[in-house]
Structure formats: structure tokens, C-alpha cells
């Protein structure tokens, strides 16, 4: 499995450095003539399946992509076009808890179930539906499939073509099986991770959830005390948005005022039209009805004509599992104030179905009394 890298074994020239060992490629490609028609997840088992144009099917299996999109983002995926100078945290990790790894000696990535929080971001990134939720954890399937064969390193183009075909295939079915309690488990694992991991974890989780919704997203680099914006969102789908990320109830009352600051900075210093910037509060849960938060959101709307959207982490996860592509219009439906205390309309509209209760995630879409 471990390859000797392409380096001349003759005398090392003065300016050369040695290279880290890299993996021998065992990437997979589709058999010739196999065209994927759709990719779907079984609503009961959650497993991924690929259906081909000839009506045959295959389990979703790992393509062993050399660039491992389930593990890392490419640098250009992390830039938000409307503000390229934003001092972003360029952590390329897809998994907010670093649960997915691909050691050199392994044929395919694997996921540490102890650290997996069940966010499903890696599932969304996989081109071949090889990752799915099993018992509320993400698991990689690397089983052999007769529809796929190993592609050599020289067959890079064929691998890329196979992958693109899969990526462009229509996808259906929620990656979270019905009745699995995935959302509730996600919430409790996230709460535990907040205690165990470093302070950037919530921001990384939110960034990666937004990225899985097809928008560009960037979080502020840790330790940068000059820029106050927690996160910015941008195209495709969203023109420009600024977000405050909040954990628990503690700081959420500050979030609307921080957003007023953020919008003023973006408009005055970076020339962005006020009407083009969407302010968003991204919260672990909705504040309760007694909180001044809701009235404050209403005040900002009345006086500044800015509608602050409120969106919970659980809502982001549900939208990701249902492959929602976020747009300005969708984000605006997450406006809620003291007349509604709810983002139910926004979420149900986005995922195209009713949300039953809070699905095990208190404060998901309704503010608690």
C-alpha cells in the first residue's frame, strides 16, 4: 500500500527536500458502459445505493479518491468570493471532530465511532454514497462491487469521469433513516464534544454544515482579535451574509447587536450594499420565549430594515441530510421574532416535509416557553 514517491534515487541536489511517503493509488472507476442514473439512500436502513441506466444497482462503495473529499476541503472551497481578504480559518477538515482518517496502510478511510457526532457532512461529500449512518454513526463502505474496477494512476481521467458522473446523478432520500433519532443523537454528541474539544469546534461545525448546503462559508481565524465577524457566507446561492455563532443561551442576546456591527463594517469599509447583506444568528437552539432576543430582532427589522435570520445547528443538519441548496430566499424564511418564536416555516419549506415535534432536539425550530 505504501509507495515510494517519485524521486530520483540519484544524489540529492542541494535544493531538494525529501518527500513524505504517499499512498499507492487504488482508486476505483466505473465499468465501461455503466452510467449512473441516480443515487439514493434507503429510508429504513440509511444505506446508499447507486442505480444505473440499465436498471442494475450497486451498493455505494468507496472510490478511494486520491484527494479524499470526505476528509478535506480544497483551499479554494474555503474562500468566500465577496470578501477574499477575510482572515479565515483554513482548517481543511471536513469532519469537525477529526473522526475520519485514512492511514497509509488502509485501503479506504475509516471513521472512529467514538468521536463521530453524526453530522453527516462526510456523507454529503462522498460522490459514491459509500458513507452512511449505521446506528447513528457514519460508516464507510469499502466492499467490492461488480460495477467498479480498480483504476491505475495512469487512468486518472477515467477515475475523474466516473466520479463526475456519480456527482451529477440525481440524489434522493434522506441520509438519515426515518425514526432513527439521528437528530437527537447528533445534539447530545455535539453537546459532549463542546466540552471535550477546543473552542473552535462549534464554528467549524457550522462552517462545514453551511458548506454542505452548497454555499461558500468562512469562519474567522482563531485568535484574530481585529475582525469581529464570526462567519461570512457567500455564493453560490447567497449573495452575502454575515453570521454570529452562538452556543447555548449565554451569548445569544448579544448576537443581534454584533450583527448590526458586522453589517456596518461590511458596508462602510468593504463597500457592500446593506440590502445585499443577510444577517444570521446560528444558534445551538432557539432562545426561550422570555428572552429579549425576539423583541430585539423585531426592533432591528423596524428601525434598520434588516431581518435577522435565526437558524439552529439542528436545522442545518436536517437540511444537509435532505440535500437542500441554500439561497437568499430560503435564508430569509428563517426570520422569526416575538410574533412567531418559530422557524418551522423556514425549515419545513426547505426540506419539503413536516417536522414532527423537535425530533429529539429541544429548541430545534420552536422556542421553548
Amino acid at each position: 500500500m505504501i509507495n515510494q514517491p517519485s524521486q530520483d534515487s540519484s544524489d540529492l541536489s542541494k535544493s531538494q527536500t525529501l518527500k513524505q511517503l504517499r499512498r499507492t493509488s487504488t482508486q476505483r472507476k466505473l465499468l465501461p458502459g455503466k452510467d449512473p442514473a441516480k443515487v439514493y439512500w434507503d429510508e429504513h436502513t440509511g444505506s446508499g445505493t447507486i442505480e444505473f441506466s440499465d436498471h442494475t444497482t450497486s451498493i455505494g462503495t468507496c472510490l478511494r479518491c486520491p484527494d479524499s473529499p470526505c476528509i478535506q476541503y480544497q483551499p479554494d472551497e474555503l474562500v468566500v468570493p465577496f470578501l477574499p481578504s477575510f482572515p479565515l480559518d483554513a482548517t481543511p477538515r471536513v469532519c469537525p471532530t477529526d473522526a475520519i482518517h485514512w492511514p497509509l496502510e488502509q485501503a479506504a478511510p475509516s471513521i472512529d465511532s467514538e468521536n463521530c457526532i453524526g453530522c453527516g457532512i462526510c456523507i454529503a461529500r462522498c460522490p459514491s454514497a459509500a458513507i452512511s449512518f449505521i446506528d447513528n454513526n457514519a460508516v464507510v463502505c469499502d466492499d467490492e462491487s461488480p460495477e467498479f474496477v480498480t483504476a491505475s494512476e495512469e487512468e486518472e481521467d477515467e477515475f475523474t469521469s466516473s466520479r463526475n458522473k456519480l456527482l451529477q446523478s440525481p440524489r434522493s432520500g434522506s441520509i438519515s433513516p426515518t425514526g432513527s433519532g439521528q437528530l437527537g443523537k447528533f445534539r447530545s454528541k455535539v453537546d459532549k464534544a463542546i466540552g471535550d474539544l477546543d473552542s473552535q469546534f462549534p464554528n467549524l461545525l457550522c462552517r462545514n454544515l453551511f458548506l454542505s448546503l452548497g454555499v461558500s462559508a468562512a469562519i474567522r481565524r482563531r485568535g484574530d482579535t481585529n475582525i469581529r465577524l464570526d462567519m461570512i457566507l457567500g455564493p453560490p446561492g447567497i449573495d452575502a451574509a454575515t453570521a454570529e455563532i452562538e452556543v447555548g443561551y449565554g451569548g445569544i442576546l448579544d448576537a443581534p447587536r454584533n450583527l448590526m456591527d458586522n453589517v456596518a463594517v461590511l458596508c462602510n469599509r468593504y463597500g457592500i450594499e446593506k440590502s445585499a447583506v443577510l444577517p444570521v444568528v446560528v444558534a445551538s437552539e432557539l432562545p426561550n420565549q422570555r428572552s429579549e432576543y425576539w423583541q430585539l430582532v423585531s426592533d432591528i427589522s423596524t428601525v434598520l430594515q434588516m431581518e435577522v435570520a435565526t437558524i439552529t445547528w439542528g436545522s442545518l443538519a436536517l437540511m444537509s441530510w435532505n440535500r437542500v441548496r441554500l439561497t437568499n430566499e430560503t435564508l430569509r424564511t428563517f426570520y422569526a421574532d416575538e410574533t412567531t418564536y418559530s422557524i418551522r416555516t423556514g425549515l419545513e419549506g426547505a426540506i419539503g416535509r413536516s417536522v414532527l415535534g423537535d425530533e429529539g432536539y429541544p429548541g430545534l425550530i420552536e422556542s421553548q416557553k
Binding site: Q4, P5, Q7, D8, S9, S10, D11, L12, S13, K14, S15, Q16, T17, L18, K19, Q20, L21, R22, L83, P84, S85, F86, P87, L88, D89, A90, T91, L104, D196, D198, Q200, R221, R222, G223, D224, N226, I227, R228, P256, R257, N258, M260, D261, V263, A264, V265, C267, N268, R269, K274, E292, L296, S298, D299, I300, T302, V303, L304
Partner: protein
Amino acid sequence: MLRLPNPGSDISGFIRIFQVLYEELWELGEFSLDDMSRALVERNLATSCGYMGNQALARSTRRDRSRDPLYNQSKSYSELFRLLGWIHPTVESRLQFTFTYFGAHVASAQRDTKAIFKETVLGIAYPNEVVDVKTVCSLRPFACILRAMLGLNGKMCRDEIILGPLSLSNDRDDREFNAMISDIRKLRGRYEDLDRALDQASSIRGITRTTMGNYTRFPLAVLLWTGWAKKIRSKKEYQKSLVFLELTTQGRKQAESVCQQHDVRESDLNSLPNDEYASFARVVFYQMLERAGFDLKPIRSQLTIDINQLKSGSKESKLLEKRECLFSPFQESDPAKLIAMFPNPAVSRKTELQNHEMGVITTTAHGQHSTITTPVLLREQEGAGSSADDGDVKLQSEIRCLYKSNGKDVDKTVSALREKYESSNQDVYYPLIAGMFRCLGYDCEHSRAGVNYQRWDAFIEDEVNSVPIEIKSPGEELHLSVKAIRQSLENKVILLSRKPYPTTLQATTLAVGHYLPNDRSEVAALIDDIKSTYQITVGVIDFSSLTQLVVARLCQKKLHDKSALTRLFGFVKIANA
């Protein structure tokens, strides 16, 4: 106690910064701190004075380099990267640097930076020939911490790390090391014993406990980031729930490996002939790279020669050849010595780039916003000096007495009152500020707790232009900051929306604090942003200026135009008409 630097806990972040700096600067051969600042800004890795991009660079740069934030940030990075052996200062200047051969490998380690970072931290040893750290201890801190954790049931808390590994004078002295383990074992049982031991250490060293804790931030961050340890809470050791770092499986493996390795220090190599020293340095360095996942095939032949040199060399060399050694040449050896022993990654490029301008950044853009001030003029007027509110009689009397006792000197009176209230909390300060506004003839009240719509701390009621006031007591923050400005904005929005009192967009919203902001430009920039974007006016008054107005009215019969404060934009500036 060994004083380790604190580069923050974002280890991935500063490794990335190094890799970016290498990408941007390696072709220069030698680079300066200004080159680093420029590279960081260009790659969006540094901001300054509230700005990103080139504006950050423009606003940061100033003649007094000690006050140039980006320059200081680059200096901190340079000190860190020197400690890690990734850059060395040049022979000519301590503020010009080159990337080391080791650094070049860190830069190229895109697949797995953790592995090479682990080797780096294990390579940190004191004293060394690379960084000037005044220390009397002989210590390889990270290796020592791992060994100590192994000896203490696989876990240690922060305070034990302070009292234990970081306080040894010689970690290779088995007696001292074992005594340290034994001492910590004895402390375990009662938290009071640990607490007392820390107090004693703090007192003897003349360092506060907080500072000692700060010296552990980097080691703790490293232990977690490398995966060598995980955080747990345990009551078992001290009958009190404390956070411990517990060795993981890979951490235990690493600790055991460190115990097997031969820990070599620079002072052990003094008697080695030069050629054997060179062989040793290359062998251990390439062994580090191999452990970090680098392929040594291209240099196998050189490595074989070096190993044979050690085998046939002096007695010391033979010892070194027998066991795997813990030694990092780029972190311990004299940089000048290493030049001849290893490739220099930049040498081949330097001749092509001799004309590259390593220019000095010149700009004067910083401080652009610090001039948002509104003058408030004082005029002598008959009939001034009285205030209607009986409740403020005590305050007025206090101010008049201070004025008299300070020889009718306004500045001294202001200073005296300012010092008197310098540690006040909200209970005292808010009514005080409201009272001072009343002394100036405003109808002002401070908010009472429990009145929900009164989000502001005090309020000037007016028939047309009511003004909310955000007050920051010294107990909350001694110097006003952007926090107060944000809250002032919120107060105004609430007032305009809910309309409990009449106001207009033209009326200001005030922020009052004990001192003006440390960085006025950032606060001024935000005030400007708010004005431009929302047409809302924010005014800032410090305690001294407010007192000056009150003294002028009560003691000098000088009045100000009341609307000047209710329309205040930016910082108040009191002047005589």
C-alpha cells in the same frame, strides 16, 4: 520553572502560517519581519486595527516599530519558529532569517503535518544554541512530560506539570526525576496539599500562579493536538474534580519510545570531531524525518556512509550509533555549524532573485479615525452653578470641596474625582453618572433593575431628543471599547422602535466610561461605520470630560451648549470658547 512561550492553542493555525510564509518567502533566501508581515497580509493571515488586507498593513505600520501590531506579531512568530528549528537568524542580523532544511520539510509535509510536529516538539531542549533563553535548567520539556505521565498512572493535571516536569533542573538526572515522581505521588490524596505546594512555588519563584499556569498552555495544547493525551475529569487523585490529561494509546506508545531513546544534548557532543559530529547530526535528523513519514531513499547512500562513520569513530560515536537518539540538530546546534552539513533549500534560487526588493513599508494611514471628535465649548454665564435636584446636593458638595481643596485647579479636581471612583462597580457608578448629568441641567435617571424595556443604563429625557446612555463602570471595563459602542447602537434602535420616550435619528446615543478607549481608532472606525450605514450618531464621553463640565458649571460658572452633548458625534473634546 521553565518558561515556555505561549503561541496560542491553534497549532494547526501556526503550522499553516509557517507553510504559507515558506511558500511566499523561500525564494528570497533571507527575509525580514516586514517581509513576513507583508506575506501574511497578502495571504489573509493577518489583520490589524480592525482591518483586513492591505488596509491592515497600512494602518499597522508606524515608525515606532515596538507599537506596530503586525511587526510585533511577525516577531512573535519568528521567535516561535526559531524555537521549533524551522528558521534561523542570519549571521549578519538577528532580525533577518532563513528557512532551515528542517523548515523546508515542515513546509512540504502537506499530507501529515502532525507527524513532523511531534518530532519537532520532542526536539525542544534547553539550553540550546538557537534561542537565547536564560535558564539554569537542562530540560527536554515535552519528552520529560511524557515520561512523567507514564510514571504517574498515565495522567497529570496542569498544576502537577508545573510542579513536576517544568520545574526540574536536570531531567536526565534519574535521582531528581524519580524524586519528582515520588513528590507528586505524595501530594496526591488531598487537594489542599497540591494547592499549598503551588502557593509555595509561586512565592519562592516570585511568579504568580496565573503566570505559571500560562507557561503550561503550550504544552497542554500540544499534548491534546498531537493526540498524545485527552482531557478527563477525575476526583480520584485529589478528592476534588480536576481536569487531567490522560495518555492515549498512541501517547503511551510515544512515551515508551521516548524512554527507550538515548536523550542527547548539545553539550554531550563537544568532544566529537567535526566529521563525526556532522555524521551524527545527519543520522539523527534523517531518523526524525523517517519517523515523520518521509521517504529516505534518495539519501540512503549518504546515510549509510554516516552510519559507518559513527560505527568506526570515537567511543562517543559508537554509543550514539547503538541506540535511536533523541536530538534535533536544527533546534540545538549552532546554526553556523549546520550550514556545511545539510543542503540549504534556498541557495540555488538566491542568485536569480538578487534584485528582489525587500523594501521597507512606509505609510501613515494608521490613526485615520482617531480624530472623530466634537468640540464642546464652555462659556461664562451668570446664574450658572446651581442644580435643582436635592438628591444631588451631596455630589455637588463633594465636587465643590474637592475644587477648593485642590486650589481651584480644574485638572487636579478632575484627577482626584477620577481616582476616587476608579474601582467602582455599577451600583455606585451608574447613579453617579446620572447625577453628574443632572448637575449639568439634564433630566437624567439611571435605569432600575427589573425594568425590561430599560435596556440602557441611564437616560436623558427630552421632549424631542431623548438620549439613551450606555455606562461602563470601571468594574466592567476601565477603558471604553467597541462593546460599549455596540450597546449604544442597540439602545438607540430599541428607543426608535419601542418609543417609550420621544427621540429622533439626529439625537445621539451615548457611551460613557471611566477612560477613553486604548485604541481610539478602532472605536472611532465603528462609530463612523454606524453613522454611514445606519445614520445613527454615537457619542463617547469619558469620566474626566464629564467631570470637567460639571466642575466648570458648579465652580466656575461656565456653561456648555446642552445640545452639543445630545447631538455628540464621536469623542467629546472640552474647550473654552
